[in-house]
C-alpha cells in the first residue's frame, strides 16, 4: 500500500512541477471577450448552447497540445520557428498582424474592465493607473515563479462564477443533458453563429503563441511531455468547466425570464434581480479578473513573440536590464490599451471589430504553421504527429478556420 502511494505521490509531484502553462493559457482564453460571449450566448439560447462546450474543449486541448509538443520537442517558440523556417518577410507580416490583433484585444479587455468598474461605481482613471503600474511592476520585477503564482491565483478567482451560479435556481438535470444530447442543437443561423463565436474567442492566434513561449520560459524538458499533455487536457476541461457556469448562470436567469442582453458586460448587472446581490457581485468580480488576465497574458504574448522573432532575451526570469526590449514592449501595449479606452473620441467598438478580423485572418496561417511543424520529422523527431492525430487535427483546424471566417463574415455583414 505504501509502495502504491509513493508511486503515485512521485507522479503527482512531477505533474505539479510541470503544472502551469497549459492551464494558464487555456483559462486566459476566457478573457473578457470570452466571458462576454458566453454570457450573451447563455442569455440568448439558454441551456441548449451548452452542447457546444464539449467540442470546444476538445479542439482547445488538441491545438494547445500541438503547441506544447512543439515547444518541448524543439525548445523553440512559434516565433522562433516561423523566423527560422520562413525567413524575414513572412516574419514581418505575421508579427505585424499579430501585434495589431493583440493590441486590439488588449483594448477590448481594457474596455471591458472600464465597463465593469463603471458598474461598481469605481473611479476609472486612478484605478487604471494603479492597475497598469502594478502589472508592470510585478511582471518586470517578479520572476517566472512569482508570476505564475499570481496567474494561478487568478485562475482560482474564476471560481467566483461557480459560486455565483450556485446562488441561482438552476435546472441541473437539463444543463447536464444539454451538454451531450444533440437533440438540443438548433439549426438556425443565430445558434450556429453563437457556437462559432464561442470557438473564435476561445481558440486564438495569441493563445497558440503564448502557450509555446510560456512552456519554454518555464524551462520544461521533453521527458515531461506526458505530464504536460495531461495538463493540457486538464486545462481545457477546467476552462470549459468555468464556461459551463457562465452559460448556466445567464441561462437560468436571463434566458428563463426572456430578457435579452445588449452586451456581455451587462450580464453581472442583469442577473441581479434573479440571482441576488451576492451573485451579481461575484459575476462582476469574475469579469474584472478575466479582463485583467487577458490584458496581462496578451501583452506578454506580443513581448514573447517579438523576442522570438528578432532574437532578443525574452523571459520573465530575465533581469530588467537584460530584458529591456521584452519588458518595454509589454509596457507599451498596456499604455496604449489604457490610453485608447480612456480617450473619449476613439470608438472601441470599431477597434474590437477590426481585431476580430485580424485574428480571423491570422488563425488559418498559424494552424498551417502548427501542422507543418508537427509533421516535420527533422524538428519533432519521435514526437511527430501520428496519422490519426493528423487527421483529427486537420479536421479540427478546418473547423476552427471556418469558424474564424464565419465570425469575420458575420461581423462584416452585421448578421
Amino acid at each position: 500500500m505504501r509502495l502504491f502511494w509513493s508511486k503515485y505521490k512521485r507522479r503527482l509531484l512531477l505533474f505539479l512541477a510541470v503544472f502551469g502553462p497549459a492551464t494558464i493559457t487555456a483559462i486566459s482564453d476566457n478573457d473578457a471577450a470570452g466571458v462576454a460571449t458566453y454570457s450573451l450566448a447563455g442569455a440568448q439560447f439558454g441551456y441548449s448552447i451548452l452542447f457546444i462546450l464539449v467540442p470546444v474543449t476538445l479542439l482547445l486541448a488538441v491545438t494547445q497540445e500541438m503547441g506544447i509538443r512543439i515547444a518541448l520537442a524543439t525548445g523553440k517558440g512559434l516565433g522562433d520557428l516561423i523566423r527560422e523556417r520562413y525567413g524575414i518577410k513572412i516574419t514581418m507580416i505575421v508579427f505585424s498582424v499579430l501585434m495589431v490583433a493583440n493590441i486590439g484585444t488588449i483594448i477590448a479587455n481594457f474596455a471591458a474592465l472600464k465597463a465593469a468598474l463603471t458598474m461598481f461605481n469605481l473611479p476609472i482613471l486612478p484605478l487604471f493607473m494603479l492597475i497598469v503600474l502594478g502589472v508592470i511592476l510585478f511582471v518586470s520585477k517578479g520572476n517566472y515563479r512569482t508570476n505564475q503564482r499570481i496567474f494561478l491565483l487568478s485562475v482560482i478567482l474564476y471560481f467566483s462564477y461557480v459560486i455565483s451560479t450556485l446562488k441561482v435556481d438552476v435546472d441541473w438535470g437539463r444543463a447536464f443533458v444539454s451538454m451531450v444530447n444533440p437533440a438540443v442543437v438548433q439549426f438556425n443561423k443565430e445558434y450556429i453563429f453563437a457556437g462559432i463565436a464561442i470557438l473564435g474567442t476561445t481558440i486564438t492566434p495569441w493563445g497558440q503563441f503564448f502557450v509555446q513561449s510560456y512552456v519554454i520560459d518555464k524551462k520544461l524538458t521533453i521527458d515531461k511531455l506526458k505530464y504536460s499533455q495531461i495538463e493540457t487536457y486538464f486545462g481545457s476541461i477546467l476552462t470549459n468547466f468555468f464556461s459551463f457556469f457562465m452559460i448556466v448562470a445567464t441561462a437560468a436567469t436571463l434566458f428563463a425570464y426572456g430578457i435579452k442582453l445588449q452586451s456581455g458586460e451587462q450580464a453581472a448587472l442583469a442577473i441581479k434581480p434573479f440571482a441576488g446581490e451576492m451573485a451579481s457581485f461575484l459575476f462582476g468580480i469574475g469579469f474584472i479578473n478575466a479582463a485583467l488576465m487577458g490584458i496581462i497574458i496578451i501583452s506578454l504574448t506580443t513581448a514573447y513573440a517579438f523576442s522570438e522573432f528578432f532574437g532578443y532575451t525574452g523571459s520573465l526570469d530575465a533581469p530588467f536590464e537584460k530584458g529591456k526590449i521584452f519588458y518595454g514592449i509589454f509596457t507599451l501595449q498596456l499604455l496604449i490599451g489604457a490610453a485608447v479606452v480612456l480617450l473619449p473620441f476613439i470608438s472601441v467598438f470599431q477597434i474590437v471589430f477590426f481585431t476580430q478580423s485580424f485574428n480571423a485572418i491570422l488563425l488559418p496561417f498559424i494552424f498551417f504553421f502548427l501542422l507543418k511543424f508537427t509533421n516535420n520529422k527533422e524538428l519533432m523527431g519521435a514526437h511527430i504527429n501520428t496519422k490519426w492525430y493528423n487527421i483529427f487535427s486537420i479536421v479540427s483546424t478546418v473547423v476552427i478556420i471556418l469558424a474564424a471566417i464565419f465570425v469575420l463574415i458575420s461581423s462584416v455583414f452585421g448578421l
Binding site: 523566423r83 525567413g87 532574437g311
Partner: protein, 402 residues
Amino acid sequence: MIYFSELKGKDVSTEDNVKVGKLDDLIFLASENPRITKLVVEDLSGNKINISIDHVKKINSNVLINKNYSISELEENELFLLKNIQDKQIIDLKGNKVVRVNDVVLQDKNGLYVSGVDISLLGIFRWLKLEKYFHKLANFVNYRPISQFLSWADIQPLELARGQVRLKKEEQKLEKLRPEDLADYLEKTNVVNTRKILKILDKKFAADVIRSLNINYQTSLFKYFTPEIAAKFISLIDPDEAVDIILTQSPKKREQIIRLLGESKKTEINHLLKLSNTPIGELITTEYLTVSPEETVKSVITKVRRDSADFFTLLNIYVVNKDNQLIGVFNIHELLLQDDNTQVYKFMIQNVIVVHLTTPVEIVIRKMFKYHLLHLPVIDISKKIQGIITMVDVDKFVVEKL
C-alpha cells in the same frame, strides 16, 4: 563587400546568356576561413542544384557561370548560408539570447568568403527591399542608421544539436571558439573557473587561450600551475610571448619551469630572457589616430587631415570600440582604396599584432621584423590602446645589434 540579401534570388546564367535559374543559397566551408565553395541554384524546373564557385565568372547584378558547368555534391564540413546561418539565433557563451542574424556579409577578396553577419535593423529592411525608404525616413527625422556587424571571428552560429552527451558538447562548444574570444570571456570569470575550463581543452588550444589572456591573468594563473604544467604550456607558446609570461613569475619558479623545458626551447628562452631588461614604456609615442568601426571612409579622411597635421608620420589607423579597446587596424593605402561611404568595419583587419607595456624592446623588434610592421600598437591589460611604438623609436637598439 556584398550582402547575402542582395544576392539571393539573382538570375544565374551562362556566359552565352542561357538562363540556368535563380540563386537560392550559398554553400560555405564551416571553418576558421569560411570560404564560399558552391552556389545553390534553383533551376528552371524548380530543382536545386549545386554549382562549384570555380565555375562562376562574375557575381554582381547577375551571376554568370561557365558554359560547361557541372553539378557537384555537398562535401564534408560544408554548410548552407540560408539554412544554417541566416535568421538563426545568436547566443553568447553564457547562453543568453543576443539577437538574430538579419543578413550575412560576404567579402570578395581573393575569393568569396563569409566575413560576418549584420545584426542591425538595416539587415531586415534590406530583405524587405525597403532599405532606401528606411534611410529616407531616417534622414527625415535626423537619425543616421548604421549597420551593426558581427565578424565571423566573433560568432558561433547556434546549431541544432540534439541527442548529444551534454558534457562533451560543452567542450566542443568551447573549442569552436577562437582562443582570443575564449580568453576574453575567461578574463571575466575567476581563476579557479578558468583552470577548470583549460583542463578540458586540448593542450595546444589551451596554450593559445593562455597566450591571449592579459598579463595579470597569466601571472595569477601560472602561480597556480605546478612547474610541470607551466613548462608544458610554455613549450607550446611562441617564445616571444612565453618570455613575457615567465618574467611575471618569481625567480625561483622561473628556474623550475625553465629546467623542465626541452633543450632547444630552453636555449631560446634563456637567450630572450637575457635581452629583456629594457621595458618599452619610455619609447612609445602618442602620435596615432583611432576611429570607431562604424565611421565612414570619408569621415576618417577628414579626421586624418584635421588631427594628424603635425604628426611625424601616419601609417596605420586603429579601430577601437565604445570601451576604447583595440579591435582592428588598417593602413592609409587600404583606406584610400575604399569608397567614400564604406564603413570602417567592412575592410579593417581584425587580427591586430600588438605589444604590451611590459614587453621587452627586443621582442618588439622581433615582432616588427616577423610581421613586417613598422608601427605596433601598445595595449594595456584591458586591451585599451596606450600608444604606438615605431621602428624609429627602437632603431638605436637595432643598430646596436648590428
